[in-house]
Symmetry: C2
Subunit: 456 residues, 2 copies
Amino acid sequence: MMGLRFTVPALMLFCAVSLQAQTSDEKTLDRIFDETMNNGEAYDNLHVLCKQIGHRLAGSPQADMAVRWSFALLQTYGFDSVWLHPVTVPHWVRGEKEYGEILNVAKVNILALGGSISTPVDGITEEVIEVRDFDHLKELGPEKIKGKIVFFNYPFPQNVVNSFEGYGEAGPYRWHGPSDASAMGAKAVLIRSVGSAHDDFAHTGSTTFASGVPKIPCAALSAIDADLLSATLQGNTNTLFKMILNCKMLDSVQSYNVIAEMRGSQFPNEIIVVGGHLDSWDVGEGAHDDGAGCMQSVEVLRTLKAAGIQPKRTIRCILYMNEENGNMGGKTYGKYAERSKTEKHIAALESDAGGFSPRGFSMDSALLHAANIQPLIKMMEQYGVYQFSEGHGGTDIGPLEKAGTHLIGLVPDSQRYMDLHHTENDVFEQVHIRELHMGAAVMAMMCWYLSEYGVQ
Amino acid sequence: MMGLRFTVPALMLFCAVSLQAQTSDEKTLDRIFDETMNNGEAYDNLHVLCKQIGHRLAGSPQADMAVRWSFALLQTYGFDSVWLHPVTVPHWVRGEKEYGEILNVAKVNILALGGSISTPVDGITEEVIEVRDFDHLKELGPEKIKGKIVFFNYPFPQNVVNSFEGYGEAGPYRWHGPSDASAMGAKAVLIRSVGSAHDDFAHTGSTTFASGVPKIPCAALSAIDADLLSATLQGNTNTLFKMILNCKMLDSVQSYNVIAEMRGSQFPNEIIVVGGHLDSWDVGEGAHDDGAGCMQSVEVLRTLKAAGIQPKRTIRCILYMNEENGNMGGKTYGKYAERSKTEKHIAALESDAGGFSPRGFSMDSALLHAANIQPLIKMMEQYGVYQFSEGHGGTDIGPLEKAGTHLIGLVPDSQRYMDLHHTENDVFEQVHIRELHMGAAVMAMMCWYLSEYGVQ
């Protein structure tokens, strides 16, 4: 793109904008945007979280550090209140050693799924049976599965517009593939990573065993290693795989949601929650998942305070603990909100789909069609935010549904997220300052607007 | 983001989609999308262009290689016609050595602007006068400017939604800052790079001297080095800067636009152009600017052919030469189209704003409001493409306006583009396969739809 391209259109644009009379609400949205984009601190805060603390699975020492550090950070900003909300969390550990080998062919990286048990100390060395999909698993039946290592090799679909659709399609092989295989007598499970990139990164994440089904060792292979294993099996169906995992579930641990708020000037007991989750998987730095959402949520309060915007309703920033493997932070807070006799949680906004360019918001149908949200939807087009749709809010805020809270999810551009999700590659360097801050800015707009007008 | 989030919504989504009866046009758009996303070759082709050829300023040996390689590539795809369209292009060279030093403080990287002349062999060592903006330049006047190195230190604005707006604001300091300073007697010019990132990369790009104004040496500093120079000047206004540039304009060179087409089955003489520019600046790899747009344009034809979609009107892919410093490819082709008695160029689509996630299309007002484009605008929402607005098409296709052609520009997400634009950092690794291919897919949809229905 050469030089003179934008001279005339840009000048025309500036004139057009300056000639239109802005409403007071439009001016407030602009003040929010300018404050976040010019002075935002989410990016620098995320750098500290990622580089000085790093990954932080619930129950880990790093999760504890993240709680202490973010509590102190919120205090330095001087918000109206900052507190810790106790949560009891599970404490799963990966253990010191993971070993995978296509016997006599190649060593490969394996990454235990959260919830996996350990192998015997010497590992499991067993024949591998490759399974295309759940129908194929049924077709093979217990007699062919029993005693084997089941290898689910379902590829991530690329012909999806939003990569979360691909996650919805390939994800079940992680979520309950191991349980299904164990129910048929499998000794262990390997899965092709649930991720959109064809690279060397394995993707971890939770798996759940159905009640009564024996837990078995289970781990993910990168897409490249899954291809290697599949090609090897094509050449020799008797190929053995050796895997060693040392993961285990320890006793539950006391942890915390970290909370701060700006109290509403007119309706302090009506609460707008904005949040993300402070915990991450135990690989990488939890940069997009979900350090980004946490630091954006802090930025919402920082921006409003710095811009001198006093909300009418209380805006409460919650950095939830343990979204990844239990959601105890979300559940515990949800129960509090449900039982509260003094506070009404009218809406909750979560950012947990990455710190990429914001494209819209998903929300419950009632909110999407509420009369007083329509002007905001229209005004947000100015900021490139076009996609308002019915859909998921977020895992942490999900339990607030029982408290009658409207749930909203930030919808960022999704194309890169599933490359990084739950991998060693989800690091600070993957986050772009303008994208992160633009997300925070539109979150602040949403929170301020709801605090100003409520939901009707 | 944990595991089970998308099970229910995803299933509901799939059911909802499958229950709706798709129109024939919707099915065609889906076929296009699936073909590009599942089998697209733009990413692999871009890898060759970036890594085996590299940057390719018009007139350079690499530009010549790019012409030969892309011509051969188009031939291998077996399109109806592939040809070279001769274009005479300027041949500016950077020269073998660039040297910048804040005297007795630090050496800094300087990057000559395209169109700059060389310094004397020993360079220029002179006092620097920092200029905030054009008003400040006027205020200082010729007596303070004369004989000095003028340093335009205008920062890229961050409070813009689209980074091209920021380019529109800061860009003039590159486009005509050197000319304005020279008109007041400046000996040379340094500019703060026109780029959105605060990093060590200097951004080159064209500068133009007004007729009668002496050409002078001019170069860009990275944002970090601009800060260093500014801070140094604050401490010592007599700071000297030494710069050596060896750039020069050589004789014009014969080059080519590289063209291929699928001939329309019903209206072969009605042409839809799709293109980008094959040349790039002489740093980095010209990956986003504009290898991406070229390989997407090739992919449009590849996708339609592979999906067995026969256009009614001719779709012509043009890889333009010399957009960056002369636009001779665009001008030469525009003249051809204007004079053609047999062909009517009804529309032209350009991708030259980066290979990032597609967000919409900008186009002339008549096309934006044409009756038979409205169904496409509606259908494209399914692919996350929401922003249809009046605006610029592209520099290469600009001259087609005189031929009565409707001009359309792909609008990708803009947040990262101005970090990379015209720098050593515009390399293949910055391009994401899904983003690149999604852009190509929606370009193919636009081209096919226009070929099917024309513009009415």
